[in-house]
């Protein structure tokens, strides 16, 4: 038997086509049918204009694309031996901006996408989570709109600012600006303690055992309880192979295939179009069914995202949950939520480290429009996982721009011999509801997957 279900609320939509054998899913095809052609749009554009274009690949993780673009342009200079030395202030302001966007995205994801689905499985009254109406939903939307203000202070607005430019950032915050940013993050910490997890942040950050799960209260406890009630601690498992392409204050670069190795080689990344549509029909494979490509590292499918980041940087609490529950839906969701708390804490500290007397920007000596021929790559950790940009410039214009988004790692099609990460997590399940929640545990973003 085959079923086709439209999965909505994934920043767009996808089709989930499942093949069933005696009530068990034996194959799952995730079809992303929409394509906006960003890589084509960027061709022949002035390199700096990419700072305006790429954030618009995605309305929810635009800052990650901005950071990837600004860094790929700086790497162009580097490859031509004109290295730009960023001030520490500029580096901090970039990382802070990206972190705030991730925090915002994680909270939205929990209340907008995870809770509505998982509470729907229960017969208990969870109306307070009801989108647009429930008090908990409204509160979460209040807190995300507060948090994002702290990014607007340095970026001018969110979404879609291009405040990072080669050489630094455009803004020059005052001490009061920084204080205000911390204030907004404090509101988020209060939200975490009072409404989200019911534990004080310092206690939470000291969690180091799987049993510490029991100390969690409030909304996150509702999730945990529902998870156990419906067996999400046991399902959603995939290859349990993890990849993180770049490091920050919280994340470490590396891969894990049973054991963690803190090194990756970008040359070993390979994108394939075996099942992917092509805008040139003559080049399209007969088996094409989606606009998403697949991507593998050293010939293997790897998961990327908050769980991978927690595993690679060995964050205590999630590492213990991971030992016990492996790469289940429970661990994956908990890793994302754990990341949001850690980012809150770390980002506040990063703000304190800014020395406002430093310059925000150092002007590059030559203009990108004068560059004859150069190539570069960059990597960034975005909300949903590792993001990779690859640019070529010819005669002062972009001649090629390739983007591999986090969701392509997790949600692309498989290949002849193996299913992709999300496909593998779904195969073997016995209901479409479970399949959708498992799919959603990867934090799907349709616009990013196809770009």
């Amino acid at each position: 038997m085959r079923t086709v279900d439209i999965v909505e609320r994934i920043e767009g939509e996808a089709k989930l086509v499942c093949t069933w054998d005696d009530k068990i899913i034996t194959n799952a095809q995730i079809e992303f049918l929409n394509f906006r052609g960003f890589e084509y749009i960027l061709e022949k554009k002035a390199p700096l204009d990419a700072l305006i274009y790429t954030p618009r690949i995605c309305g929810i993780c635009g800052q990650a694309h901005l950071k990837a673009t600004v860094e790929v342009l700086e790497n162009i200079y580097k490859n031509l031996n004109y290295e730009i030395e960023l001030t520490n202030k500029a580096k901090l302001l970039r990382e802070i901006g990206l972190n705030i966007e991730i925090i915002d995205s994680h909270i939205k994801w929990f209340y907008m996408f995870i809770m509505p689905d998982i509470t729907a499985l229960s017969s208990k009254d969870f109306s307070s989570y009801k989108p647009l109406k429930g008090e908990k939903w409204l509160k979460s939307s209040f807190i995300t709109s507060e948090i994002i203000k702290s990014l607007a202070i340095i970026g001018g607005q969110w979404p879609h600012t291009s405040y990072m430019v080669p050489g630094g950032v455009v803004s020059d915050p005052t001490l009061l600006d920084l204080t205000t940013m911390k204030n907004y993050l404090d509101s988020a910490i209060n939200f975490f303690e009072d409404d989200f997890a019911g534990v004080c942040i310092d206690d939470y950050l000291s969690f180091s055992k799987a049993e510490d799960l029991d100390k969690i209260g409030k909304d996150l406890k509702d999730f945990i309880d529902l998870c156990f009630e419906h067996g999400f601690d046991k399902i959603g498992k995939s290859y349990n192979r993890h990849l993180v392409l770049s490091s920050t204050e919280l994340f470490k670069v590396g891969k894990s295939n049973k054991r963690v190795i803190n090194r990756v080689d970008l040359e070993r990344i390979e994108e394939s179009c075996e099942y992917t549509f092509n805008i040139d029909k003559n080049k399209q494979s007969k088996e094409a069914y989606t606009w998403a490509k697949n991507v593998r590292y050293a010939d293997n499918f790897f998961e990327t995202g908050p769980l991978s980041r927690a595993v690679i940087s060995k964050r205590a609490f999630i590492s213990k949950l991971h030992e016990k529950f492996e790469d289940s839906v429970l661990t994956r969701v908990m890793a994302r939520m754990d990341e949001f708390v850690h980012l809150l804490y770390i980002t506040k500290n990063l703000i304190s480290k800014i020395d406002i007397s430093e310059e925000s920007f150092v002007k590059p000596k030559i203009s990108l429009n004068e560059i004859k021929n150069a190539e570069a790559k960059s990597v960034v950790e975005a909300s949903r996982g590792s993001l990779f940009h690859d640019i070529s410039i010819k005669d002062g214009k972009i001649s090629k721009y390739n983007v591999i988004t986090p969701t392509v790692w997790n949600l692309g099609p498989g290949n002849k011999s193996e299913p992709s990460v999300a496909q593998k997590a779904i195969i073997g399940l016995d209901s479409i509801e479970k399949a959708e929640i498992t799919l959603r545990s990867f934090d799907i973003c349709s616009v990013c997957t196809t770009h």
């Binding site: 920043e11 084509y40 309305g59 989108p131 995300t144 600012t161 455009v170 002007k363 616009v447």
Partner: protein, 298 residues
Amino acid sequence: MKKDKKPKVLWLQAITCNGNTHSFLSANNNRMRLFLNSFDLIYHPSLTTDITIKEIIEKKINFDFLLVEGAISSNKEFFSISGYSPYEMLNILVKRTKYLIAVGSCASYGGLHAKFEQNSDIQGIGDSLSAENLYILKHPVVNLTGCPAHPEWIIQTLFSLKDYGKMALDEKGRPKELYYGLAHHGCTRNEYFEWKVEVKHFGLKEGCLFYEQGCRGPMTHSNCNKILWNDVSTKTRAGMPCIGCTEFDFPRENMLETKKNIGIPNEVPLEVSKRAYLSLTGVAKTFKIGRLNKKLID
């Protein structure tokens, strides 16, 4: 207010990055609550609602406001929404609504997505209504341009239309009251603009971004610097040039540089003659105002 008395709002996403959705969801919370109390958002693709888009179509459900985010295309190979092309979807839904509002520059004019030349028919809503639907609406399409549109522009438009039934639009279909002024108005760098003090480089509070950085504030209709973004700031206040995202021609080329000819910006502020602008600049520059040539806070 009883639920069934509230005007019904349907939000459709066509070819978009969902930036307008996230802009809207980032609205000031009191405003958002007021909106949710006064309107019935019956469907939004990013949110769990009681009804699906399929049911709305099949059950021929009517509503009051159709908000469309994203550009329109009839090419299903590149883009489809629950099996329909954005063009088909728009033309089905337009028959059910009283007002049609384009949220953002993509929905208004095709915006950035229209730059995807391989899909040649990407357009804004105004150009995407079928002949039979062209005159069906009781009110002209309202274009809330911007990339993204400001949440307040959306909320104010909805309330005005709910209370007054109509709005004055400019020749580009934008509400006059939102777009009569320029992004330039209210910019904290205006004094630098007047006295022609340019910002030395990015990353400074001091100086105007018009002469070098490509700021389009003086040519861009929007009230960004009056109704601040996320309640706290704007691009130009923070130090990023306005890139003219509310205008027909967005995105333009070389948005972070000012095109110049022998040192004079190719385009000068709206309706100012180039010669006059030049003499004015010459005069203004002679003033050398000390205060404007040093750090604001030492």
